[in-house]
């Protein structure tokens, strides 16, 4: 019996999306195959990784990752520059966490001022994330989207309850949009359909299937993503073809595995390595399931993930 390569015939393809402006702009998506299967299709762009920063000192991040940013994290502008210049980030994801009513309830105008300062000091693409508070995000993302006009940012996250307004401002100011739904193929599809029905250009959508960390629901995200990707490729389903974004840092760095001291749990081994591998392994899971853009925190975990991506290409 002779071996013949078992190829699948796909008729669909993931949209290619450009982020940022100028020579530091990046492209993601565009593949016509499952991740890294070069024998049956193209994967023109490697998955990119954005480093997460926020507008408050990261007091609730575990030490392993907090200490890396010790010198810069009290100043989001310096923090962003550090990610670009020292860590050679592909992109930065600025989370406006302080705008949440339970945090500082920062006013949209103040958030916008910070966004414009950050945009002034760095030239890599910026992802601007709200605090995931449905109502507050409407006001905050509207104002910051206007401020960031012309920078081809990614604005997020639009959820079912607030997608109309957020999509409208993203469109008016020519940004890309993250549409997040709750770990369900049909919900993800439905939200994308709602967006296109209101006139949002579908090639500007990025789908966030809702991430989860290794050991805490990773398998749900993994399978939802595999199913979305198969629908995009096999059924040529336009509503399933946006690139996939996984916002993993915030899920990973709250798990006990990234926090508990070795003295407390000797059977879990060294805390430093454990935290880093927890984020890198989660990232590996997401890229195998089809992620095009990851939002991560620890530089060492990012470096490992990039090395893995290189080896997979």
């Amino acid at each position: 019996m002779a071996f013949t390569i078992p190829k699948e015939n796909y008729n669909g393809k993931v949209y290619e999306v450009e982020l940022g402006v100028g020579d530091r702009a990046i492209k993601i998506g565009g593949e016509s195959t499952l991740p890294f299967l070069s024998f049956e299709g193209e994967m023109p762009n490697r998955p990119s990784i954005a480093i997460e920063i926020q507008d408050l000192p990261p007091n609730d991040w575990p030490d392993t990752v907090k200490k890396v940013y010790e010198k810069v994290s009290s100043n989001p502008v310096a923090w962003a520059k550090f990610c670009q210049d020292e860590l050679k980030a592909d992109a930065v994801a600025l989370r406006l966490i302080s705008t949440h009513p339970d945090q500082k309830d920062t006013k949209p105008e103040d958030a916008a001022k910070l966004v414009s300062e950050v945009l002034n000091v760095i030239s890599i693409p910026v992802i601007i994330l709200g605090s995931e508070h449905i109502e507050k995000d409407i006001a905050v993302l509207k104002t910051v989207a206007e401020t960031a006009k012309g920078k081809n940012c990614i604005i997020g996250k639009a959820q079912e309850e607030n997608h109309k307004t957020i999509a409208a401002v993203a469109m008016a100011n020519e940004h890309k949009l993250i549409a997040m739904s709750q770990l369900d193929v049909n919900l993800a599809k439905q939200l994308n359909i709602l967006l296109t029905q209101m006139g949002f250009v579908k090639e500007r959508i990025l789908t966030d299937p809702m991430s989860s960390a290794l050991g805490y629901g990773l398998e749900y995200t993994y399978s939802v993503m595999e199913r979305i990707r198969l629908a995009a490729l096999q059924q040529n389903d336009g509503a399933m073809q946006p690139p996939l974004v996984c916002d993993i840092g915030k899920n990973v760095w709250k798990t006990k595995e990234t926090i508990a001291a070795e003295a407390e749990l000797p059977e879990w081994g060294s805390l430093e390595e454990r935290g880093i591998i927890w984020e890198a392994m989660t990232a590996a899971g997401m890229i195998m399931a089809g992620a095009n853009l990851l939002v991560m925190r620890h530089p060492k975990a990012i470096e490992l993930t990039k090395k893995l991506i290189e080896e997979l290409r």
Partner: protein, 448 residues
């Protein structure tokens, strides 16, 4: 190729005698096609038909057992490419490689690491299952002495005997053949000698070839030499080759019934950088490796790999869950607090673990919400005040404790008023912290 029910039906006696427990032969055939019953349930089927159908209904990837006794590892028998299509059945086995040139100190440490590798996660005991003794000295006596060392100091741990030299393997086998080690590996050059050893000693045999064409012919050759239990190695060592080869092998077996690839796959993940090695092994876990050989097994590394394996191999249709009941944690008495949460295994074991950490004995009331987490169950209407109240009342906890107070998870604080109402006169609902890791401080501060 899997046969349809109708095709199977053609080969059955067609008497509808019902001895198989089904009303008709056709019904039996349908069940057989869905792999929900064994062909042996029909006593009247001809030997000829049985052989034919047996082959057709055999799983596309052969089940291989490595080792003997209760620590034996079973791999293979997978039927899908994506876990959401059904599930992945037999979790891949991890092995740590021990070279016969390593110092006795290093060897001792690795054996110890294997023996103490077990962790308890979400109620399952997970560990590094195997040891691969690797020939680096090309000296049968040296190899045998390390095999002996391992057999003696890690009894029951399944072995992989790794050498391309049949006389080295033979020396190792002399000490452990009855323990069914995996022989690694037959190549085009040594196939006859290795196949003979595997057959004589009734051990599974891994085959190594460079690339999938060569692997196909070697697989057929070894099978032709009478070996049934085969494990495949296509020489893939880079992440890209692993992913592509393993995908092609699994697809060929599952979708094309390509017999030469109807066996489990072995992956070698060794890297100088242990973190990188972990990620490479992770690719193997997700993408179809059945055995993964590592060069080191630090605890942090295995925690991540064993957790990934557990995630990938859980049943996507049925979340892991525990029984609905009131669990006694520690030496709980009539004064001990009553804590309510859901029966999702992950939730239960996290909360239980933190209660144990607190050293405050408690009653843990676990409500059946079909295995959903607290917020998911709440959002799905399954962790509702009415359901919690009914369960607390029916559980009989009122007779066990002398107080009327329950503690609920912080994430569902909104339930408290309505729950108090539903529980009725005298009941008090206390809102706990959101994250379970704040439970010890919370419980201690209440001075229970």
């Amino acid at each position: 190729m899997a046969l349809s029910g109708v095709e199977i039906f053609k080969h059955l006696p067609k008497t509808n005698c019902k001895k198989c427990g089904f009303p008709t032969c056709l019904a039996f055939a349908m069940k057989l096609a869905a792999k929900g019953v064994s062909i042996d349930a029909c006593p009247d089927i001809s030997e000829e038909a049985k052989k034919l159908l047996g082959e057709a209904s055999a799983p596309p990837i052969r089940l291989i057992t490595i080792g003997a006794g209760d620590k034996a590892v079973k791999v293979g028998e997978e039927v899908v490419l994506f876990r959401h299509d059904k599930k992945f059945f037999n979790p891949c086995g991890f092995a740590v490689a021990i070279k016969d040139t390593e110092s006795s100190d290093e060897i001792k440490k690795k054996i110890e690491a294997v023996k103490t590798s077990e962790i308890d996660r979400v109620g399952q005991k997970l560990r590094v299952e195997m040891i691969a003794v690797t020939d680096a000295a090309n000296d049968p006596a040296k190899f045998a002495s390390v095999v002996k060392n391992v057999v003696d100091s890690a009894p029951g741990v399944p072995l992989i005997l790794h050498s391309m030299n049949p006389s080295v393997i033979e020396a190792g086998l002399a000490l452990c053949a009855d323990k069914r080690p995996l022989i690694y590996a037959a190549t085009n050059e040594n196939a006859e000698a290795m196949a003979k050893l595997a057959k004589d000693k009734k051990c599974p045999l891994a085959i190594y070839a460079n690339g999938l064409d060569a692997l196909t012919s070697l697989s057929e050759k070894v099978k032709g030499l009478g070996v049934e239990d085969i494990v495949l190695d296509s020489g893939a060592r880079k992440a890209k080759d692993m992913l592509e080869h393993f995908t092609m092998i699994r697809r060929s077996a599952v979708k094309k019934s390509f017999k030469p690839f109807g066996y489990p796959v072995i992956a070698f993940a060794n890297r100088d950088d242990s973190m990188m090695e972990a990620l490479i092994a992770g690719i193997g876990v997700m993408k179809y490796a059945s055995i993964i050989v590592l060069s080191s097994i630090e605890k942090w590394k295995m925690l991540s790999l064993l957790t990934l394996r557990q995630n990938i191999y859980t049943d996507p249709q049925v979340p892991m869950q525990v029984e609905q009941k009131i669990y006694k944690v520690g030496e709980a008495t009539d004064k001990s607090p009553v804590i309510v949460t859901t029966n999702f295994s992950l939730t239960y074991f996290i909360v239980r673990g933190e209660i144990e950490n607190s050293k405050v004995p408690c009653w843990l009331a676990i409500l059946d919400v079909e295995g959903l987490s607290v917020l998911t169950a709440w959002a799905a209407g399954k962790f509702s005040p009415a359901k919690i109240a009914a369960f607390v009342k029916e559980s009989g906890i009122e007779k066990t404790v002398s107080h009327k107070e329950v503690i609920i998870p912080g994430y569902v604080a909104v339930l408290s008023g309505s729950l108090e109402e539903k529980l009725g006169e005298g009941w008090k609902v206390v809102v706990g912290p959101r994250e379970a890791n704040a439970l010890p401080a919370f419980l201690k501060s209440r001075g229970a």
